[in-house]
């Protein structure tokens, strides 16, 4: 086995790094908080790489496990471990945080130490949530990460930031307390908070349905799914660029991850019985929210709605699997779930990149309104090229990562019901429409006004950030095999759990 507790290191390095920044900020001759943050985030990213390189792909078992007693009175363990689903999401988190630290380098002038510290602490908590194998440990991370995000939106956000951040906190808290009650109930039944033990716990259908709904409230708010999505556009619009990026790229994934780790394996029968509901909600997100995105005058809002639509694909991929398996097609079901997970990672890159693009323009113009722009390509050709790539990826162009996940989910949907696949496929039209129409209005045309005429193209730092994301989008787009290989065994195991009745 490995000698180093990599998961603990990846969780606690950024958290302690954040504390270090806060303590150092008062001292004289301290290195700037920005450089400490960059150093810590790079070290964390480096520490997370062995999780990938030393990962054994052939097994669904949890790897890099650490287990020690935390609260002995209630049998709560500090139990960490990753499988093929959580490991890529952890890498996504560490990767994105580096970019976010870079993106906030110059823009953030008000209390940069607290800003950087908040993101680092947030990073550690998110990784903790992805790698926790004890339900209470998961819950603690899951709730605690609201605090830094709450502060990030509230302190460094736009004019309506207070409304947005309070709404964000209350919505998510609302969702999670029901999950807490469900977890306590499961603990009564299983006698342990181990998530893996809960996976094997037999539960009656009635209880399963109640637990399923408790989980659904928690995760649907986080994903977010229609109709509990309304906090997301507000939060995204008001958050600083870095906050939007983390929110879209990582925090939304926590909701989807919750479905995979909790809902599907713990309540497979209820999930099966209610899959129509989940499919319906996902399709509403894809089609209806797609139309809503089309009419947004605000770029950040548009991308926020497009996030909801894309996350609908992920949930569709997870829950369509029941119908495909009912038809006896295991490979099709695997395709759907894997497509959903690929969509998660890909959406992390693309939406993060788009929010960064809007941030680049906002830093120069202090406006997010599409109407204030036009002809940006004349002044910022390099930037326009990057944004072109991300807009196309967002609309699902083959060769980019956006295509892979969507295509897999649509393909698997065809195996069960033409109309579900048809509705899901409308996203290819809608996604192209809202992404490219926005792109056209903002980037092309003649130079709209004097402010646009005064724009400078992106500098080294911005080029590096966008370039890294562009590379990731293209790499995942043309060569998704490594990601699929990593998650393969885990997804097969998950499907086995989903098909095994626990009644």
């Amino acid at each position: 086995m490995q000698e180093l507790p990599f998961l603990s290191l990846v969780i606690w390095t950024p958290i302690l790094g954040g504390v270090w920044i806060l303590l150092a900020s008062g001292a004289r001759n301290a290195p700037s908080s920005r450089s400490i943050a960059l150093l810590v985030s790079l070290v964390t990213f480096a520490l997370s790489l062995p999780l990938w390189s030393q990962f054994e792909t052939g097994t669904h078992a949890m790897q890099f496990q650490e287990k020690s007693l935390w609260i002995d009175a209630f049998a709560i363990y500090y139990h960490l471990g990753v499988d093929g689903i959580s490991m890529p999401l952890i890498i996504l988190t560490t990767f994105t945080t580096v970019l976010v630290v870079l993106a906030g380098w110059e823009v953030i002038q008000y209390k940069p130490d607290q800003y950087m510290a908040a993101f680092l602490v947030l990073e550690g908590l998110m990784i903790g949530a992805f790698s926790a194998l004890d339900a209470m440990l998961f819950y603690v991370f899951w709730e605690a990460l609201l605090i830094p995000m709450f502060l990030i939106i509230g302190v460094w956000g736009g004019p309506q930031r207070i409304y947005a951040t309070v709404k964000f906190f209350l919505y998510t808290f609302f969702g999670s307390v029901f999950m807490l009650v469900a977890l306590i109930y499961l603990y009564r039944q299983a006698g342990t908070f181990s998530i893996l033990a809960m996976h094997d716990l037999p539960i009656g259908l009635h209880a399963q349905v109640l637990i399923f709904f408790a989980f659904l409230v928690a995760f649907a708010v986080k994903v977010p799914m229609w109709p509990v999505h309304t906090w997301l556009p507000d939060a995204h619009v008001e958050a600083p660029t870095g906050g939007s990026v983390i929110l879209a790229a990582v925090m939304l994934k926590l909701g989807a991850y919750g479905f995979l780790r909790f809902s599907l394996p713990i309540t497979p029968d209820a999930s099966h019985a209610l899959d129509w509901l989940m499919i319906a909600l996902s399709l509403i997100a894809i089609v209806y929210i797609g139309f809503v995105a089309l009419v947004q005058p605000d770029m950040k809002k548009l991308i926020a709605y497009s996030s909801i639509a894309h996350m609908g694909f992920a949930t569709l991929g997870f829950f369509i699997a029941f119908r495909i398996m009912a038809a006896g097609d295991l490979d099709g079901a695997i395709l759907g779930v894997e497509g959903g997970i690929v969509q998660l990672v890909s959406h992390g890159f693309i939406s993060g990149a788009l929010f960064l693009c809007v941030g680049v323009m906002y830093d120069r113009m202090h406006s997010r309104m599409i109407a204030d722009y036009g002809g940006v390509v004349n002044r910022m050709p390099v930037f326009a090229a990057f944004m072109m790539l991300f807009a196309l990826a967002n609309s699902g162009l083959p060769g980019t990562s956006g295509f892979v996940g969507e295509f897999m989910v649509i393909l698997s949907s065809f195996k069960t019901n033409f109309w579900i696949a048809f509705l899901a496929a409308t996203t290819l039209v809608l996604g192209a429409a809202y992404s490219l129409w926005m792109y056209k209005r903002v980037i092309y045309g003649s130079v709209a006004n004097e402010q646009v005429a005064a724009l400078d193209d992106i500098g080294m730092r911005e080029t590096f950030v966008l370039g890294a994301l562009a590379a990731a989008v293209l790499l995942l787009g043309v060569w998704p095999a490594p990601l699929l290989e990593v998650m393969g065994a885990t997804v097969e195991h998950l499907l086995a759990q989903m098909t095994t009745s626990k009644l």
């Binding site: 607290q114 605090i147 502060l151």
Partner: protein
């Protein structure tokens, strides 16, 4: 009936504190004004020694003395230690507050010591008489403390209100006790317990007595619908007194609840559970909802206390040993959180002004990020957000409620805690999101800084690693 000298040993901490309080009183008379600080130091010293005695004399098995009127057991000892610890902190914060306002008098600490003695007697009560004795000693000292600032009209009003309503509650409690005495023929709680266990069928006098006793307890704890005095007293009293009322006496009131209901009347468990459920749901609902409308932080924390009392009842309702220890954990945690919150008001206040409005916290992050951070910990802990200690307090009572099969009650409780979150967030929003034109830096003494930091950081540290404190509460009630 022959009179034998009772065994004094189990009551050593109480006897010591009585002697110490008298000694402090006498010493205070002879101390010149410029050495008044000596009174404070003597009082703090007595608290430390009393706590040491409690720990040193920790009984292996419950010991009963004074003809059954006094019980020394593990639960009592633990509660006493935390009462003394909370009072130590409260006296410390009081010192700063009173000194800044020219209210620094020796009587304050003498009254405080007598209140502590009352609380210790209360949590060790073995008979109805002892309960009443301890309760009155506590209450009378507190009435006087509230009225300490004689020039303040609001303080006098609060003291009056507190006295009248408190006396009424004591009367109701006493009336209930007389009925229980009438039904069982004894004042001794252990004997009452035996008598009730031997009853077959329902005894209406006993039930009626129980109702009055519960009303009395609800009054003292401030549960809805007997909560009316809480906001006025909390707001009107000097902050240092509010801080004291909100901490140690709540722990003592929990002790009273345990002695009367769990030790004395477990046979009526089915009856008092129903009453407590109503009180609990009402308290959580009214407390959390009305707190939203408050603009004064002391008032807001008063309503939050009411809501917390509702949560406290949940563990008792669960009716298991684990449930009682969860409630005990809850009240101890709550005492220290609320004390930290009021201490922040002391920190922000100047010599002339009180910083007790929520807007006084505006821009605190710009004025002093450290105190803003401490207040963030305290507020989120009260709201029950992990990883702070308040979360584990809520968690442990919810766990027992679910265990007792009342999942619906747990759902109700969490819904109200979502509502509660809103007003705690408002304080954080004032500190972090609102800006002031010219942030005035805070001037806080080093000793205050250390104590407040220790108070709030303990909430964070114990939240990350609550194992020890939880185990302590479990072991205190086991067996």
């Amino acid at each position: 009936m022959s009179f034998t000298t009772p065994d004094m040993a189990p009551a050593t901490p109480e006897l010591f504190l009585l002697a110490a309080a008298c000694a402090v009183l006498v010493a205070d008379v002879y101390v010149p004004q410029r050495l008044r600080m000596l009174t404070y130091h003597l009082a703090q010293f007595s608290l430390v020694i009393a706590a040491g005695l409690c720990l040193a004399l920790l009984p292996e098995t419950p010991q009963v003395t004074f003809n059954g009127t006094f019980v020394a057991d593990a639960m009592g000892a633990l509660l006493k230690v935390f009462i003394l610890l909370a009072t130590y902190f409260a006296f410390f914060y009081s010192k700063i507050y009173l000194r800044d306002r020219g209210l620094f008098k020796g009587e304050y600490f003498v009254l405080g010591l007598f209140a502590v003695l009352g609380m210790m007697v209360l949590v060790s009560a073995g008979s109805l008489l002892t309960v009443y004795l301890g309760l009155e000693l506590l209450s009378l000292s507190l009435y006087a403390m509230v009225a300490m600032n004689r020039t303040s009209i609001t303080a006098s009003e609060a003291a009056m209100k507190y006295f009248v309503l408190g006396a009424l509650a004591s009367g109701v409690l006493l009336y209930g006790m007389s009925m229980i005495y009438g039904a069982t023929g004894t004042l001794d709680l252990a004997a009452i317990r035996g008598h009730v266990a031997g009853l077959d069928g329902r005894n209406m006098v006993l039930i009626l007595g129980l109702v009055f006793v519960i009303v009395g307890i609800a009054f003292k704890l401030g549960a809805v619908p007997f909560h009316m005095w809480v906001p006025d007293v909390y707001e009107g009293a000097p902050t240092s007194v509010t801080l004291f009322i909100g901490s140690a006496p709540k722990i003592a009131a929990f002790g009273m609840l345990m002695r009367l209901l769990v030790d004395g009347l477990p046979g009526l468990h089915g009856d008092w559970t129903g009453m407590l459920i109503i009180l609990s749901v009402l308290s959580m609902g009214v407390g959390n909802i009305i707190a939203i409308a408050q603009t004064n932080l002391k008032r807001m924390l008063a309503y939050s206390t009411i809501a917390h009392v509702g949560f406290l009842f949940l563990g008792i309702i669960a009716g298991s040993e684990a449930g009682y220890s969860a409630s005990m954990f809850y009240i101890i945690v709550y005492a220290f959180m609320s004390m930290g919150g009021f201490a922040m008001i002391v920190v922000l206040g100047g010599a002339e002004s009180e910083a007790d409005r929520i807007v006084d916290f505006k821009g605190l992050n710009d004025r002093n990020p450290w105190y803003a951070f401490l207040m963030l910990i305290l507020m989120l802990s009260m709201a029950g957000v992990p990883p702070f200690l308040g979360f584990w307090a809520k968690w442990s009572v919810l766990r027992e409620v679910v265990a007792s099969g009342m999942t619906w009650l747990a759902v109700v409780a969490v819904i109200f805690s979502i509502i509660g979150l809103f007003y705690y967030l408002r304080v954080i929003r004032m500190m972090y999101f609102e800006k002031v034109e010219q942030p005035a830096p805070l001037s806080v003494g080093a000793d205050m800084r250390i104590m407040v930091s220790a108070n709030a950081l303990a909430i964070l540290a114990l939240g990350v690693y609550p194992s020890g404190l939880l185990a302590l509460c479990v072991s205190a009630l086991a067996g």
